[in-house]
């Protein structure tokens, strides 16, 4: 146990160091593509980490998590379109909108359990998708181009790739730190207790749904931040960001990395997106290999990458 635990720690440490030092490598080698790719990976990793909070620790299988990516993105895009370019306004609005959406759909969805919960979260995300498609003023189906990235005064320049990369990385580590604090707090213990046995927690006297709802809202808010980052990264936001296959991608990243493990989603996202990238370099039909690979991972590698590295008692 001790040895396998070390393997896991070493991998995580290597990944963290690698992510921190990546811009040095790309600047020296002039390989800016790597930086762009990893900026995207880091943003998705943040989204996956937020999904992991409710899925891995809270046992709430949300199949509509991409909705927050879209909402965060549209908050930035719409404000930019209306001439409000300040990040100090855009980002808080993105977070608040995501939180509000999570509050409303969480309050309704948490009445259901199991597969029904998976499906109702999906339904709400699809609704958000169709609302965005109907926003004719903001591009409708075609999406909305963002001509100027969020402006943070002189503090940080989002158009500078390296600065933007470090901002994304800062958000990812901040998000993971927050999740770590939450998971190990009394609140987090209650939420994990709910995943194990909801009835007992209720019998002990915890207001079950309120705990779940708060956890759901926190997760949605973090994912909204990822959405704001994503919109700035691509200078573009479209309804496709909320389509259900995107939610599926996020789920795959979490499960691939290992549910209920702190760094699992990061590893899962890196593996998923790098694999996608590598396979698509190799063949146009990358999904032909990716699909069966996912099947094999489910069949033979339970617990995802984190599980293979050896699981500690708690992340």
């Amino acid at each position: 146990m001790k040895a396998s635990l070390n393997a896991r720690t070493i991998i995580v440490a290597l990944v963290v160091a690698g992510l921190l030092l990546l811009p040095v490598y790309t600047t020296l080698s002039g390989n800016m593509f790597g930086l762009t790719l990893f900026t995207r990976i880091i943003i998705y990793a943040l989204a996956a980490a937020s999904l992991n909070l409710i899925m891995g620790y809270g046992g709430m299988m949300s199949f509509g998590h991409a909705a927050y990516l879209g909402i965060g993105g549209y908050a930035v895009g719409i404000l930019a379109h209306e001439g409000i370019g300040s990040g100090f306004i855009q980002w808080p609005v993105a977070l608040a909108a995501s939180a509000l959406f999570a509050l409303v759909i969480g309050a309704l969805s948490l009445r259901t359990r199991g597969v029904y919960f998976i499906m109702i979260t999906l339904a709400f995300a699809q609704m958000a998708y169709y609302v965005a498609s109907g926003l004719a003023r903001y591009g409708g189906d075609d999406g909305l181009t963002i001509y100027k990235r969020s402006d943070f005064g002189g503090l940080i320049d989002l158009s500078n790739r390296v600065q933007f990369y470090y901002l994304c990385l800062f958000c990812l580590f901040g998000g993971i730190y927050l999740i770590w604090r939450i998971v190990n707090s009394r609140f987090g213990m209650v939420v994990q207790g709910l995943r194990s046995n909801e009835r007992r927690m209720q019998a002990i006297g915890f207001p079950v749904n309120r705990y779940k709802l708060v956890c759901f809202v926190i997760s949605g808010t973090i994912c909204g931040l990822a959405g704001a980052l994503l919109a700035n990264n691509t200078d573009f936001v479209s309804p496709a960001a909320m389509y259900w296959t995107r939610s599926g991608d996020l789920m795959v990243m979490v499960i691939l990395g290992g549910m209920g493990s702190l760094f699992g989603p990061v590893l899962g996202t890196i593996a998923f997106l790098l694999l996608e990238e590598a396979l698509s370099q190799f063949t146009e039909y990358w999904a032909l290999i990716m699909g069966p690979l996912l099947l094999l991972i489910v069949l033979f590698a339970r617990g995802g990458i984190d599980g293979m590295l050896g699981r500690a008692r708690r992340g």
């Binding site: 009445r111 259901t112 998976i118 499906m119 109702i120 709400f124 599926g248 795959v252 691939l256 032909l288």
Partner: protein, 305 residues
């Protein structure tokens, strides 16, 4: 009046088609407790098989029968090779594995048939308009879909309610451990049910094919609709799936047809024409959300197929 009748029949036709898809899904879901996202891929494969076999044999009916058989075999093969090993895993593993299958099927189709869509031309005897009422004509093919789907629904009802296999299926839906303990060969039953579901999905796909183009990803939108239906109807309930499918088909079709005009009464013309498509697409999800909030287990909770 003419338009109302036509749209009503369109809604019925779409609803019945959705029922074929949802019936297979709800059987697999209710009995094996298996979430099969790849059900939409089987629907797509049914359409592609039909387009191929019809072009190959030159006979529409023969081609469709062959396509149906091919989808059935594909479903059984899929169950046998991969999916049966997943039954005792949790739903998330199902989602991940069958999500992988969707990726696989989409690219396999792209590799075999190419990225462009296919057309499945109708034989002349199905293209004539059919007079359903004095002065009201309706495409014969859509009418044929309604008839075939109703027959299949009836057959399914008879099989599930009146035969021994059906009895086992119902028993499996209400208590899986018990029928295993009673000495029923569950593995065989599961394979059979999965094959049946695949064939139903294939049937829906090949019947829809002449109306829409046969293309990659055609199964994904409709899969979500099928999921919405079985959730509204109550997972594992065929009767629930039937009612919910008709309901959803009607809402979707009638919403698309009449909502723009309705909205124009209250909104400006421009605002209505942009809001209406989004709103009519949302209606179904809104319906599902309302049903789940009021009845978290669907309209007809399982155990009553």
């Amino acid at each position: 009046m003419l338009l109302v009748v036509e749209q009503f029949l369109n809604g019925l036709q779409f609803g019945l088609l959705l029922f074929l898809l949802a019936a297979g899904l709800t059987l697999v879901f209710g009995i094996m407790d298996f979430v099969n996202l790849a059900h939409g891929s089987l629907y797509m494969m049914g359409a592609y098989f039909a387009a191929t076999f019809v072009a190959w044999t030159g006979n529409f009916v023969l081609g469709c029968v062959l396509a149906l058989g091919a989808t059935l075999l594909l479903g059984i093969l899929l169950e046998f090779v991969a999916l049966r090993h997943l039954y005792n895993r949790d739903h998330l593993d199902h989602v991940l594995a069958t999500f992988g299958l969707i990726l696989f099927f989409n690219d396999a189709v792209r590799l075999i048939w190419g990225p462009a869509g296919l057309a499945l031309p109708l034989p002349p005897w199905l293209t004539v308009p059919f007079q359903i009422m004095p002065g009201v004509y309706y495409p014969a093919y859509r009418l044929a879909i309604i008839v075939v789907a109703l027959l299949v629904a009836l057959l399914l009802y008879l099989v599930v309610m009146r035969t021994r296999i059906g009895m086992l299926i119902r028993a499996g839906a209400s208590n899986r451990e018990m029928i295993g303990a009673l000495g029923i060969n569950i593995k065989l039953l599961y394979t059979l049910v999965f094959g049946l579901g695949a064939a139903l999905a294939g049937l829906a796909g090949l019947m829809q094919a002449p109306i829409l183009t046969v293309q990659i990803g055609m199964g994904e939108n409709i899969l979500i609709l099928a999921f919405v239906i079985i959730v509204i109807g109550g997972i594992g309930s065929i009767r629930g799936a039937f009612l919910a499918a008709i309901f959803v088909g009607m809402i979707d079709t009638l919403g698309r047809a009449f909502l723009p005009d309705l909205l124009r009464q209250v909104l400006s013309s421009a605002a209505a024409s942009t809001a209406a498509p989004a709103l009519s697409s949302m209606l179904i999800y809104l319906l599902m959300a309302i049903v789940l909030v009021v009845r978290p287990e669907g309209l007809f909770p399982a155990g009553r197929p």
